[in-house]
Symmetry: C2
Subunit: 210 residues, 2 copies
């Protein structure tokens, strides 16, 4: 026998894979999944199209992986916000704000994650992604109930409603068909938007006018 995979090769392959992932991420962040072509991705990553298939089963699998990665970042940020100090209500509010503000800051990627029509395997990831948020919120709501800052309620159901309310509120503003506004106006509008989403959500949770 002559050739045996070495550490060096393993690393080189890992690098190539990483380049592919990064370039796909970039393509998606620019134009969504639908318009991300394998040939373009390969070109950007500096590999042949066939090489993509040495690293991923199919375009759909590649996209599913990108979705998972992009998602994990976001979910982690929300988890972080939930791990800060303060009572459950304060922490949850921070988390909701984090979710919404980050989405508005990277609108195309956020739209792809939340609302772009995607293939079945990617859609599955999306369900998992929404579930992940809901799980985080659910735990926080449970803590809130124990702490006494939320009335007793179906925490799972409430968490789902939170995810839906935020996502729906963002779909319009994130939509790629939205006209552009000046940076200043946009930021102001976004603040207002985020605040009113949060108000509705917190009222829904606490049953208390604020």
């Amino acid at each position: 026998m002559a050739y045996r995979e070495t550490e060096k090769m393993r690393q080189r392959k890992a690098q190539a894979r990483k380049r592919i992932v990064d370039c796909t991420y970039q393509c998606v962040a620019e134009g969504g999944f639908r318009s991300a072509r394998i040939t373009r991705i390969a070109g950007l990553a500096g590999v042949a199209t066939g090489t993509i298939y040495r690293h991923f089963e199919s375009r759909e699998d590649l996209f599913a992986e990108i979705f998972r990665l992009a998602t994990q970042r976001e979910v982690d940020k929300v988890a972080e916000a939930l791990a800060t100090t303060g009572n459950a209500s304060e922490r949850l509010e921070r988390a909701l704000r984090q979710f919404a503000e980050r989405a508005l800051k990277g609108p195309m990627m956020a739209w792809s994650l939340i609302a772009e029509p995607v293939d079945p395997k990617v859609e599955e990831e999306r369900l998992a992604y929404r579930k992940a948020y809901a799980n985080l919120f659910e735990t926080a709501i449970r803590e809130g109930i124990d702490e006494g800052c939320f009335p007793d309620q179906d925490a799972r159901q409430s968490s789902t409603c939170l995810v839906g309310a935020i996502a729906e509120s963002l779909v319009g503003p994130l939509s790629p068909t939205q006209a552009h506004q000046s940076a200043r106006t946009k930021d102001d509008n976004n603040d207002l938007l985020v605040n009113s989403i949060i108000r509705f959500c917190m009222q829904g949770l606490t049953g208390t006018r604020r």
Copy 2:
């Protein structure tokens, strides 16, 4: 000149068009948009595939029309529920219930309308559809504020949150990948589901625990 379109012909064409629409509706209600093939639709409607294109620009246009029709039915039902007697809060609650219960009764079509990945033209219709619900809710919320049964709030924002909360809560249960349950258990679960969605929504609106 010899041939001139007559009433008889107009009617015959209208009939064919209706058959096409009905069969498409049926196909979508059975398996969603993605799996509805033009050839199958033509076969069911008893016309040649080419004939479809004498009535609709493209598959996407046909689907957009089906979406619009299916949607209109649902929106009308919600509007009906909002036009009953009682204060705004009661009427809104009836409307939310109507929305959710009808969706759970025709799950495949509801899933297609709410969550199935679709082509751009159809997606546009979906945005309009969600907007239509939001508009109805918005009006009702405004009335509620005037009547004094809801505290002052951003009615547009709240209505968007309502749509999102319901839709998100339904996506899981409607998802075609969901395992089947016995009819009895399912109905019970659905009742519980609808009730907890409504509780969250009404709390979000009123800021009052219930």
